[in-house]
Symmetry: D2
Subunit: 329 residues, 4 copies
């Protein structure tokens, strides 16, 4: 039995708790949250104990921690957990501050504990098949990647204010997918963006509609399209193009039922949002974490991947602010 | 230059005239129709002369005739044209009376003129590809054929009264496709039908919704679905199934534009009716007839195919009337 | 907590056990199987006790039974369980003998226990949406139903020999779907069939490829297409057509990844077989059974539905044998 | 009857000649080409006379000219034809030199003759429907446009050397579509590109794979993806996204036949190249030109559109060379 401590009992914490609970070999022993009622509720659901960080990390029977608390606590919890010798699963982003992320990377290197970052899309069966199709040679030499990633609706403005902005909060997933699929680091980043969805987002200093272009040293190109509001649901498509052809991962629809009449043929919308679309991915991600604890697997996304995605987000922000492309060394 | 005489200047006559005219090697020399204004209008459009049957058939410069007049004139015109040594293209059905069709088959056999029957779907590029896929082995041993064939709306009730009924007028195309794709004669026919679209059709002694099942001696099965009214347009799909897999010819849509919003993803309807859907087929059919006149080709559908399709229609009518399957010898 | 006893620890028993176990309010208390090792294995997995029928039914803490044992035991277990006052979930078919099924129906009527029959497809979210679309008026007056239902490969010949044959074993699901969607009893059944897949199936007195046509009193039509072998996987499509338009439930594919190259655009196959395709349906079916025990719901498929589907299967067999349509009173 | 003179009897000249000839009200009176055999061949096909520029323009019975000769002759022919009072249809690009294009624009303004530029895609029925869907409000406020435009294979290296390069020769169509769909001028252009297809293209100073990002003053965004080689054919897709939803114009396939087997479901490739894909567009474009001559219509693309597209191409070239975004005034 693998014993875990869950830091953070909010929405994403609940997702990981459910995924953990559905793994017969996992026990959620502790739940820690500054908001006691949330901690209490989740603890009851999964027969866990509400406690504090120190107690949880001091318990030698705890094998790993899930860090799903607010972003500003991630780095501290990573360092404390690493020093306590616990395997770490941490939600993205590691931190909004690059220097702080670098220190976490160092700590992990020194403490030699597994540290997985929650880029859940790497575990999605659709994108796994896409990645396999690339490996199997179906696109030949990869030349271009197109990532369409649009949310059904923006988060509350309070969340946006502390999120680090669209590039660090939302597009960071796409930067990670881009790196994963390109298999090569981007060296040039260009970003352009607008605020079309809600002027309050602009007032908060953020954007809600953005295009980013990446280029690698060998000339592979990538374009990313983000919007905080797609009336038709969660739009998650990836297209990879190369010398051999094209591979596309299309949206998964709410059902495969089609209604045809004098207006045309009406198919369903994509699955609404990340809870529905990536339900399997969250489960596979947690199972992978358990295998990492058992030394049977490596995380698909490490803390270094967290750092690299953040570097791209920072470059995109600079590009958007200056209106110029940014080179990465 | 191939000189043709067109019998019948109605809707289907106009289709063939246009197809003929777009072939640079064809001249429509005569138009014959009991309704003089229609003949006149079409003749003017294509620089032809309005005349009568005898004059047209007596003209030794006429190579072939297109019989697109009313069904009750087909058999007479086939026999007269054959005896005048003209190549014949005749719209389906040859005649509503089996004995009469048999006599036409005999005449053609004796006169040795090419005689093509207007089963236009055999010339459709989609179904040609479907047929090729079968020949290329993509379904392995053919085991089942499913034909969905639905009109957007029923013809005028006056037409229905003289049409010979759904099985001889509408499903006859599907019987021909079934024979063409099965490559084997059906020996068992079962038909069931209803009148759902318009009670006037029932009053006229006809049906508007029908399912037919065919079986060949080797056990190949075929199902045909007809309706006189599909709100979404002209539904023309064929699916062929066998030991190797399945090949489907899907509908052609009015465009490939898709509108996606909170309701779902709305694709366009199928092309509205036979004029749009089979425009290319009519043109290829006419070109094939010209090649037949030049002895460069054989008709894809002969007068014997016209006879066989009618035999199936008769069997379906009997099955519908008796409620029992009908065996063909 | 709802306590259940599972009769039958084979493949379908294991499916129901897993579905039951994933419901937090359900406890599988007993497993009964003539093959002790199977019972033992499943019992261990779910912390249940291996016992015999009498002991299980005598336990007053058992609320319901899942009958997933071999078909020849269904009727006895239904009657014993009903008399013991247990709620019953029984796999299809109730029995291969109509008289025996009638007696079960009587027993259930007298004992007044809930009795659900395992027509799992009624619980499938795709078909639920299809049914809702009909209720919501999207097809207008329903006129035709087309059910395509093909297995990836035939079962072992030993299974076929005791299965009751294609019509009672495989197409019975489609008869049930037809009745459910037509919302009216068929009064005419015509069946035609062949043996294309494996001559051993013919030797066993069965067929592997079949078309059935149904007609209701009001003239609604239905066609069913079955094959025991589709190279491309489990083909489960339904199309409903009427005065307002058409609603189709299409296959669910293994993924939505498409590979495009000089050969064309290759989409994935349908999900392989019933375990994958109806995983959600099995879970929802079990949850519905639990709600039935709590008097919070009615089974979507009752023992009477089991009887009616069997009547259609018997009629299809007679039609196939005689070559004639069969009328039902 | 509208009498036209065709300048240029090469591939694109032949396309326009065929489109002109299929319009019953058009007569191609003259064909002019420095390569006499080509002129002769086309002239014979359409009963035209081979002549020289001066003679053609001096003929008062000529209503309009089709300029389909090599790019370096376009500007001269535009000016000569305008001064001779002829309506002008000129293939894109007007000229590779911006100053020269400006002079042509001036001449047209002074001479007041209709001048249509061959941005054929504006006449394509698919894109017309897309444009209508935008006008009809289906995307709400337009926020992003995504244009995927890939050729099946690169042109000969000799053509590339004189073509002006990918941005002026190939992507210029996409710049025009972007302007047409955005209904607002881009003010920011960023281009990134690579040479993946053939090193000879790099040796010729050109690229074969490119991504461009555009932004308008109101913040509308557009991304364009070009490749000179798509193994699967001519990839011509456009997606428009906004506050109301998304409208997509998808590829037209070679047929709608799908082959399904153990590998999956194989649909056909897109129509091979511009001759097939835009056949209808060329015909509608020519018909529009005839209507312009009759003062019954305006060109969908004017010489000013030719100028604006070239300005975007120049900006993209500068952006690619400097690695920085370029602002347009």
């Amino acid at each position: 039995m693998i014993n875990l401590c869950l830091f953070g009992a909010g929405r994403i914490g609940a997702i990981h708790a459910r995924a953990a609970n559905s793994n017969a070999d996992v026990c959620i022993r502790y739940v820690v949250d500054v908001h006691q009622p949330s901690a209490q509720k989740l603890a009851e659901k999964y027969d866990a104990t509400v406690t504090d960080v120190a107690t949880a990390l001091a318990d030698s029977e705890i094998h790993g921690v899930i860090i799903a608390s607010s972003t500003d606590t991630h780095a501290d919890l990573i360092e404390l957990s690493a020093k306590a010798g616990k395997a770490i699963f941490c939600e993205k982003p590691v931190d909004l501050d690059l220097a702080r992320v670098h220190r976490c990377v160092e700590t992990i290197k020194v403490q030699k504990v597994p540290c997985a970052i929650g880029f859940n899309r790497r575990y999605d069966p659709q994108f796994t098949k896409l990645k396999e199709a690339i490996s199997d040679g179906h696109v030949g030499n990869l030349e271009m990647v197109t990532i369409t990633s649009r949310d059904p609706s923006p988060p509350p403005i309070e969340y946006i204010k502390v999120s680090g902005g669209l590039f660090k909060d939302m597009m960071i997933h796409d930067f990670d997918m881009a790196r994963w699929l390109l298999s090569e680091e981007p060296i040039e980043v260009f970003a352009t963006a607008s605020c079309h969805v809600d002027p309050a987002i602009a007032d908060a200093g953020d954007v809600d509609t953005a295009l980013v272009t990446l280029k690698t040293a060998s000339g592979k190109l990538c374009q990313i399209s983000n919007s905080r509001r797609a009336t038709y649901g969660y739009d998650q498509r990836i297209e990879v193009f190369g010398s051999g052809g094209m591979v596309q991962a299309n949206n998964i629809l709410e059902s495969n039922v089609v209604i045809t009449n004098q207006l045309g043929a009406l198919a369903e919308k994509p699955q609404h949002f990340f809870l529905e679309r990536y339900e399997q991915a969250y489960s596979l991600e947690l199972n992978n974490f358990v295998q990492c604890i058992r030394n049977d697997a490596q995380p698909l996304a490490t803390i270094n991947d967290g750092l690299q995605a953040l570097l791209l987000a920072e470059a995109a922000i600079e590009s958007y602010r200056t209106g110029q492309a940014v080179r990465l060394s």
